[in-house]
């Protein structure tokens, strides 16, 4: 890793004063990367590309969008009908949101499977969760902007969650709304925040990358880099690999955008917001469904059993606490997981528990999309219970009782002896 010598005099002049070219070179070109990364490692850079696509389409959409309750719905339809390629940019933005979450979820589950959150990458993981939270906030306020029925009622339901905060709840909700209901001031501030938050995400991504480059990427074996024989330069090996991944991703993303643009959407959002009519089923976008299921999981009578608790929390409060807890808990995962082995490849029990946890999240997502009654409610409760048991009970216990398989000596040893299957 020698400092590059720049030949171009302009580049040389700039780099001497602001070593931006040298920095780029070190972090994107000769950056040493484990030689055994699989395609699951392409999803990080993919998420970065989507962020750029979302900001680009979003900035342009804002040029024709009007954040006013009387005009917002029609201004979106005007973009779809009258503005040149407006339909394309709008559908790219709409489907891009779904793709962003899809890619980030895969990225998170990859981290869970290969133990990427463990020391010394705890902070990298936590910054990632902050990015995820910021994404959720951005997606939520952004979904309000088209001012359809789901926009309005989604915003109403979710902002009402804050009313569970003791003593100040109602005041806080009114403060969020800037009025006594979701209305024009709400729409205006949501638009403002929707424009701001992506740039905060951008800053967090920078920190995420900084932390990543300090200890380098984890890898499918979960063992540390021991020397130069374990790594290859990022460019051209992973640049070309990531570009191929990007190509496959774009085919899927644009396939939806051009041929099934409303696949992820809700029909109700093509009806203009109406404060007098609630849609039959209020469902959030698919990427919020697991959390929505957790929110609705707490039974009313559950609280009564505990006698004294109702004084402090109601079922609604407990649901809200569980929902936020389900994300906050992930931040403690590096310490809840006591195992010293990172990759599930060498953890015979965790390997199964990981897939059970994954299935549990999918199940929660499915339940979140169904009316909360009967069988669905029961399944939702059990799945919620399992979510927390996995994190709070299984993960710490595994570290004590699981016998890990022997780890390979080094990345290069494993790669060359196992028949070079990178």
């Amino acid at each position: 890793m020698s400092a590059p010598q720049w030949k171009n005099p302009v580049v040389k002049w700039i780099d001497h004063r602001l070593p931006i070219f040298t920095m780029t070179h070190h972090s994107l070109v000769d950056y040493p990367t484990p030689r055994n990364l699989s395609y699951w490692w392409s999803f990080g850079s993919l998420a970065g590309v989507i962020l750029v696509i979302m900001i680009a389409t979003g900035v342009f959409l804002a040029m024709h969008y009007t954040p006013h309750v009387d005009l917002a719905f029609d201004s979106v339809e005007r973009i779809m009908r009258d503005v040149n390629f407006g339909w394309l940019l709008r559908y790219l933005h709409m489907n891009g949101a779904s793709m962003f979450f899809l890619v980030v979820y895969i990225h998170i589950f990859r981290g869970l499977y290969y133990g990427s959150y463990k020391a010394p990458r705890e902070l990298l993981w936590i910054i990632g969760l902050l990015i995820f939270l910021a994404m959720m906030a951005t997606a939520f306020v952004g979904y309000t902007l088209p001012w359809g029925q789901m926009s309005f009622w989604g915003a109403t339901v979710i902002t009402n969650l804050f009313s569970v905060i003791p003593f100040f709840g109602d005041a806080i909700v009114e403060w969020l709304w800037g009025g006594f209901a979701v209305d024009n001031p709400t729409l205006n501030r949501f638009f403002s925040l929707h424009y701001l938050l992506p740039f905060i995400i951008f800053g967090l991504v920078f920190l995420h990358l900084w932390a990543l480059h300090e200890h380098k990427s984890n890898n499918p074996l979960g063992i540390d880099i021991k020397g130069p024989q374990d790594t290859i330069p990022f460019h051209p090996y992973y640049t070309v690999k990531d570009f191929f991944g990007l190509g496959v991703f774009l085919i899927i993303y644009l396939g939806f955008t051009f041929f099934a643009p409303n696949f992820f959407g809700e029909p109700d959002n093509y009806i203009e917001a109406n404060a007098l009519v609630t849609p039959a089923h209020i469902v959030p976008e698919w990427y919020f469904l697991p959390f929505y299921a957790i929110l609705r999981a707490v039974p009313d009578n559950f609280i009564d059993v505990w006698g004294i608790l109702p004084v402090i929390v109601s079922a609604k409060t407990a649901g809200v606490i569980l929902m936020f807890g389900s994300i906050v808990l992930l931040a403690f995962l590096p310490w809840l997981d006591r195992s010293r082995v990172r990759s599930a490849k060498f953890r015979p029990v965790y390997k199964y528990l990981f897939w059970l946890f994954f299935a549990d999240c999918i199940l929660l997502g499915y339940v979140g999309g169904q009316p909360a009654e009967g069988l669905m409610l029961l399944i939702g409760r059990l799945a919620t219970l399992y979510y927390f048991v996995h994190l709070l009970v299984f993960m710490p216990l595994l570290g004590k009782f699981e016998k890990a398989a022997p780890l390979p000596e080094s990345i290069s040893a494993a790669v060359t002896s196992a028949g070079a299957k990178a």
């Binding site: 020698s2 590059p4 024709h64 005007r78 009258d82 503005v83 407006g86 940019l89 460019h235 051209p236």
Partner: protein, 184 residues
Amino acid sequence: MADTTVPTGHGHDEDSSRRDFLLTSTVVVGGAGVIAAALPFIDYMNPSADVLALASLEFDLSGVEEGQSITVMWRKKPVFIRRRTSTEIKEAEEVPLSQLKDPQPDSERVEKPEWLVMVGICTHLGCIPKGQAPGDPKGEYGGWFCPCHGSHYDTSGRIRKGPAPRNLEVPPYEFTGDTTILIG
């Protein structure tokens, strides 16, 4: 980017030239894709269909008497339409071109001599000249007068005196009937 430390591998000439060819063609095709992807974004900022639908408008002039003027709005700009009297037409036609700052014969500025149609924005700094309403000052040449910096226009809307550099602009228009006009 020329000095990266890429292991050259086996270093066969054939192999590396094939690789270079693949690399160059992929970069070219990918680059073309990026440029093509930028086009919708650029076009997005062009006037949209609803704006273009108002770009050419039809107006009914049947109510305008000789010697009267009306102002209509076209592309967010005032358009002066004047049904000129025969004296005004005569005045406009008889001015020698040598006396004009921006020489243009009256016949080039009208479809029918009776109707003078022009954008009512002073070519100096964008003010709206006076002269449409009956009581307005019409300037020294009986046409229009811009109060901002004192530009005088004649009965053909040509600049005769004052700082304005050009005659009042004539928009593209055509008569679709005896008294209906399509501007734009």
